[in-house]
């Protein structure tokens, strides 16, 4: 029997092909398209964290604010494992690098070139696994807490991780308050078939696809049941402890992958990068996209990043119209406008862009149809 390919699938494949073509075009013109590339890459990274946060907050109903902490675990692990050996001493110039790390890195540097191309991905996975283990242990304790206590406990956890990373006691590993730099950019994939510029999109694509599949599986339905009503879900035989733990661990895993990518994107990280503000930024992306919508989180991640780093930039520049200095326009105005927009979403358009719906072509066309009187 031959399966008929449905129209929406064709549209989606078409859109995907266009996007990939666009990315290759960007790669060919990377010298002139710096802003677009940087916005899209950062958007892709934030799309992954936002989706993983949404898995917890929007689909499992666990109000967790620990994202930045798990991202930092991913970022530091990745950075420590991929900073070129020749730069290690320069990076850790203040306190020296820990001998164990140095030894490991020297061994890694002697591996055959093929292995070398895989190491960055291994580093991402390792960081994510460590984050997942931390989440597993911490989850045992904090997931019993009710909504707002969970929020503050996870926020606290993230701060604990941050202060450990920045403490002088771990100088030789995390380089304390100096942070890590000289982190290489994204690696290319498949022997250069996929240029390094496109790598973050592939990683985010794969991870978000996993989360979507999970959400639509039986376990994902159980998560939603917990979000809707914990007591009823438990009475239906769903183990709260087990499912919350699953959601928390998986979310942390992907946050850490995104954290590792952020390290590659920024090329240098410090503990301050992963402060509470980062978690808030991500939460706001989720809220604007719609709590409980993956497409919402993804779209919103790109929109918010583009708006913040690109479209609204002009707010920060002094502006003169017809020879008048418009008084409000100066550094910081952009973020004020942005916060006000956000409050408008929170207070008035409470569902965000997508509510709990997912994007679909039929939804798009039917919405158009509905708009006609």
């Amino acid at each position: 029997m031959k399966k008929k390919i449905s129209k929406p699938t064709i549209y989606s494949l078409g859109a995907l092909a266009l996007f990939v073509a666009f990315l290759y075009w960007l790669d060919a013109n990377r010298l002139t398209q710096g802003m677009v590339i940087s916005v899209l890459q950062k958007g892709a990274i934030l799309a992954l964290v936002a989706t993983s946060m949404n898995l917890l907050n929007g689909f499992t109903g666990l109000f967790s604010l620990g994202q930045a902490g798990f991202m930092s675990i991913g970022a530091y692990t990745t950075a420590i494992l991929i900073i070129p050996v020749k730069n290690l001493d320069g990076v850790y110039y203040m306190n020296g690098v820990h001998p164990a790390i140095k030894a490991l890195r020297v061994v890694m540097a002697q591996a055959p070139p093929f292995m070398q191309t895989i190491f960055p991905f291994v580093a991402l996975l390792l960081g994510a696994t460590i984050a997942a283990l931390v989440a597993l242990v911490v989850g045992l304790a904090v997931l019993r807490l009710k909504s707002d206590y969970l929020a503050i406990a996870t926020l606290g956890l993230s701060e604990i991780v941050r202060s450990i990373f920045s403490s002088p006691q771990f100088d030789q590993i995390t380089n304390g308050s100096y942070g890590l730099n000289k982190i290489p950019n994204f690696p290319p994939m498949f022997f250069g078939l996929i240029p390094s510029l496109i790598t973050p999109f592939i990683i985010t694509g794969v991870c978000v696809a996993f989360i979507v599949l999970l959400i639509n599986s039986s376990y994902g339905r159980a998560f939603k049941a917990i979000r809707e009503d914990e007591i009823a879900a438990e009475a239906m035989g769903i183990s709260l402890y087990k499912h919350k733990e699953m959601s928390f661990v998986i979310s942390s895993f992907f946050s850490a992958i995104a954290g590792g990518m952020l390290a590659m994107y920024m090329r240098s990280i410090e503990a301050k990068t992963f402060s509470i503000t980062l978690t808030y930024d991500i939460l706001l992306i989720v809220v604007i996209g719609g709590i409980g919508s993956v497409t919402g989180s993804v779209v919103s991640a790109f929109l918010v990043t583009a708006a913040k780093e690109w479209w609204l930039r002009f707010f920060d520049q002094p502006l003169s119209l017809f020879g008048f200095e418009v008084p409000l326009f100066r550094t910081g105005f952009r973020m004020v406008i942005f916060s006000i927009l956000l409050m408008i979403v929170v207070l008035i358009y409470r569902k965000g862009l997508f509510g709990t719906n997912e994007f679909s072509w039929t939804w798009l066309t039917s919405k158009k149809a509905r708009r006609k009187p």
Partner: protein, 279 residues
């Protein structure tokens, strides 16, 4: 009398100074319908919550199908303020979480309907099937359990058909009319594959006609699924019609037990319901 599927022995639940359930000893025979009645605040829902694992009892035990699923005795602070009638010499404690108890074969509905409001009628039932899933998280995510998933969906559909909700399968559960919501809650409980079904005021808010339909429905599902039923209800017609035996609770204490006919003529029950002052 037939063998008991559910037993409680000296079951006591105390909140602070309030003894909500005091020395409750019930026997629910397999295959029968047993009712629990009593005035508002008598402790009926609390008894359900203890039996289904929502609260840990203060004292006494719950035995389901020969297995102790909950047991406790007054401990630490409670020891000092304990004011239940019965004092347990045993010092064993057994705890099961509500989901474990459900998987053992006991399902319940709630007095104040607790559906998964934003999810569809179909999803509500399908979720209840999740508790017996064999596939792991990864198996399920990568769709390696297609056969199992298909079976879960087919069974859920069959169940919805059976309770007459198939036509509204794709509607949001909170958009259903009240009577159907109650029915959906029962269907959802049935989807967990219980042997014992606990219904907390299934007829609350229904008119006489709907109540009669519900009576028939309860008897019907009992036969069809080979259930044992334990129900709380204020509609006396329903209780008297379908119950094999009745327990009456007042201020946490069991004041009567018997067949519907016996209960109808029991002095203490009438007093409790009319609120006659005994002093």
């Amino acid at each position: 009398m037939r063998e008991a599927l559910l037993l409680t022995e000296h079951l006591t639940m105390q909140f602070g100074g309030v003894v909500a359930v005091d020395d409750l000893n019930i026997k629910i025979p397999t295959g029968e319908i047993t009712a629990l009645i009593g005035p508002n605040g008598a402790g009926k829902t609390t008894a359900f919550n203890v039996i289904t694992g929502g609260y840990q009892p203060t004292c006494g035990r719950v035995i389901f199908d020969g297995q102790i699923i909950a047991e406790n005795h007054p401990r630490s602070k409670m020891k000092k303020i304990y004011s239940g009638t019965y004092t347990e010499p045993s010092t064993q404690t057994v705890v099961h979480t509500p989901d474990q108890i459900t998987r053992l074969g006991m399902a319940r509905t709630f007095q104040n309907i607790r559906l998964f409001k934003d999810l569809s009628v179909f999803e509500n039932v399908l979720i209840a099937k999740h508790c017996h899933i064999k596939a792991s998280l990864f198996g399920s995510t990568f769709r390696l359990n297609r056969a199992e998933e298909r079976a879960m969906r087919a069974e859920s559909e069959a169940l919805l058909d059976r309770v007459g909700l198939l036509s509204s399968a794709n509607e949001k559960s909170s958009s259903l009319p009240y009577g159907k919501q109650r029915r959906l809650e029962i269907a959802r409980a049935l989807a967990t594959g219980p042997r014992l079904l606990l219904l907390d005021e299934p007829a609350a808010g229904m008119n006489p006609k709907e109540t009669d339909e519900l009576s028939a429905f309860i008897v019907e599902i009992k036969e069809a699924f080979g259930l044992t039923i334990f129900l709380i209800e204020h509609h006396m017609n329903l209780v008297m019609d379908i119950s094999d035996s009745i327990y009456v609770l007042d201020y946490g204490k069991t004041i009567a037990y018997g067949t519907p006919a016996e209960i109808q003529n029991n002095e203490r029950v009438i007093q409790a319901y009319l609120g006659v002052d005994e002093s």
